[in-house]
Amino acid sequence: MINYIVKRVFSLIPVLFVVSIAIFLLVHLTPGDPASVMLGVEATEEQLKELRKEMGLDLPIYQQYLNWIGGVLQGDFGTSYFMKEPVTHSIAEHVKPTLSLAIIAQIITILIAVPLGIAAANRRGTIADQSIMGVSLLGMSIPSFLLGLFLILLIGVKLGWLPVAGYQPLSNGLWNHIKYLIMPAISLGAIQAALVARMTRTSMLEVLNTNFIKTAQAKGVKKRAIIYKHALRNAFLPILTVIGQTFGVLVAGAVVTETIFNIPGIGQLIINSVERRDYAVIQGVVLFVTLSYVFINLVIDLLYGFVDPRVRLDRD
């Protein structure tokens, strides 16, 4: 097991190295140079020179990278030019709504998808199965920002059941907090729900076809017990993986959803920074989300290896 963990962690190093270079180079893709883009056309040569020096753009490029990555490794993601504060500070301020949104979306996803997937597998080939799979196909084809807009139109504007946009922190009461996040969470989680439902169905069907289930049936075990006690347990590992992977996707997807619903999270931070061309923040947010994404996947993989010994033996 320790071997497996060490291997898995070390395999991340080249990936993270590439990620850091890609994110670092992003700024240098800018036609002209970031300083002149940030200050606009009216900037004097003096101001440009000063900003370049402040941003370290006058150093050779490898030196700039080393300075930047050195800072990142010590938890310093740079300083926002417009907000005059450390990027980590802005991220910390904006991370709570995003996390809250992703968690609620995840809960909704699981609550909807797993039972539907099991039901579809049980009634394989019937109309119920086909309509569940049909809806899930539709769910996968509606981009989350679009679903968000449709929900706003239907539930927010037409029916007026839920607030169309905005955010209330948890300190203002749990219901207040959740009320504003239901629609965004549904729109964010729908695609993942479709995926998880499909995965649940496939995984259940696979297990239901094995010999030990047939034996159980032959013994006369009740159908309910077969499904929930025997099959679901064994089918749960792949489902768990998909759920884990989707959590990373949810955090990344929240970027667009937040903008629609005006939630002051990471997504809004990066969109505002794009408008202001605040490169340090853009780099910081992309790096932060990617790191959390990679980290979540790592944890899921390790858990998977821990629960199912076949995984770690396979890869050794």
């Binding site: 084809s141 807009l149 780099q283």
Partner: protein
């Protein structure tokens, strides 16, 4: 002598017969796959709209008529008008040229560059390690974030959307091509070619590449759909196709501002996006079944 000739002729007859039957089987399989037919018909419809639509709609997508602001759908403006009094049907039809064009170009560019990377990575060990680590790295940055960051660096215009999305999706194609090519590379006939002294270029492009085309087509279809989604999201966020050019995404952006007054500006471009993505997904699933009947993806 004559009997030999006769036999050869018979053999070629049998071969032709076989080919014909194969083709018939292919056509039969195509039409027996309802989802795939649905997908193809949807895409054909959208293709026709994109190609001929702009000639059929009479109104100018850029013409602003102030007194016609936010009109409901009516016989004069079938899908209504936007907040500048521009005809929505015309904007959506002209927008499909932009959105579908971006999607198609991205799929094509990513396919080509992904193919080159994937093929050479599968052939040279050292190259494989380097290129695949770069692909892994790029793929671990969430697509939409990478696209947003690239657009922030490059500046918002349609050409840059195509560049940014091609960078985002090339690794996905490269991965698929590489794994398909690796299987071919282990075949005995490739070893035989190498022993005969065939050049690497010849082996890669004449003997390995043709075997990677089927998975490439399937993957490219999904990338097409994905590119439409990300383009729409970028334009919706104001970091994609800039105004006043219409794209489904930035029509939605305009629609969001007037969502309380004009449902049609959100619903119609939204339907177009769902239709194209659904069509492409069905097509991709169907193609996968058609090419490889063993994977029962999407089938009941």
């Amino acid at each position: 002598m004559e009997t030999a000739e006769k036999e050869v002729r018979q053999l070629s007859d049998i071969k032709q017969q076989l080919k014909k039957e194969q083709r018939q089987l292919f056509i039969k399989r195509f039409f027996s796959n309802k989802l795939m037919v649905t997908g193809s018909v949807t895409m054909l419809f959208l293709l026709l709209v994109t190609l001929f639509g702009p000639f059929l709609v009479s109104q100018d997508p850029y013409e602003m008529v102030v007194q016609d602001r936010l009109l409901n759908p009516s016989s004069e403006h079938l899908l209504g008008t936007d907040e500048f009094g521009r005809d929505l049907l015309s904007r959506i039809v002209h927008g499909s040229k932009v959105t579908m064009g971006v999607g198609l170009l991205v799929a094509a560019i990513a396919s080509f560059s992904g193919m080159v990377i994937g093929l050479y990575a599968s052939y040279y060990r050292i190259l494989d390690h380097i290129l695949m680590r770069i692909c892994d790295g790029l793929m671990s940055i969430p697509a939409i974030l990478l696209a947003i960051a690239l657009m922030a660096a490059l500046g918002p215009n349609t050409r840059n959307v195509i560049i940014a999305l091609s960078i985002v999706f090339t690794p996905h194609i490269a991965r698929v091509i590489r794994s398909a090519a690796l299987v071919v590379r282990e075949q005995t006939y490739i070893e035989a070619m190498e022993a005969q002294g065939a050049s690497a270029t010849r082996i890669i492009w004449l003997h390995i590449m043709p075997n990677t085309v089927s998975p490439l087509v399937v993957q490219a279809t999904f990338i097409f759909a994905e590119a439409i989604i990300v383009e729409a999201a970028l334009s919706f966020l104001g970091a994609g196709v800039p105004a006043p050019d219409p794209s489904w995404g930035n029509i939605l952006y305009d629609g969001k501002l007037v969502i309380f007054n004009a449902w049609w500006m959100t619903v119609f471009p939204g339907i177009m996006i769902v239709l194209s993505v659904l069509g492409l997904n069905l097509l991709g699933d169907g193609l996968r079944d058609l090419i490889d009947p063993h994977t029962n993806h999407g089938k009941k």
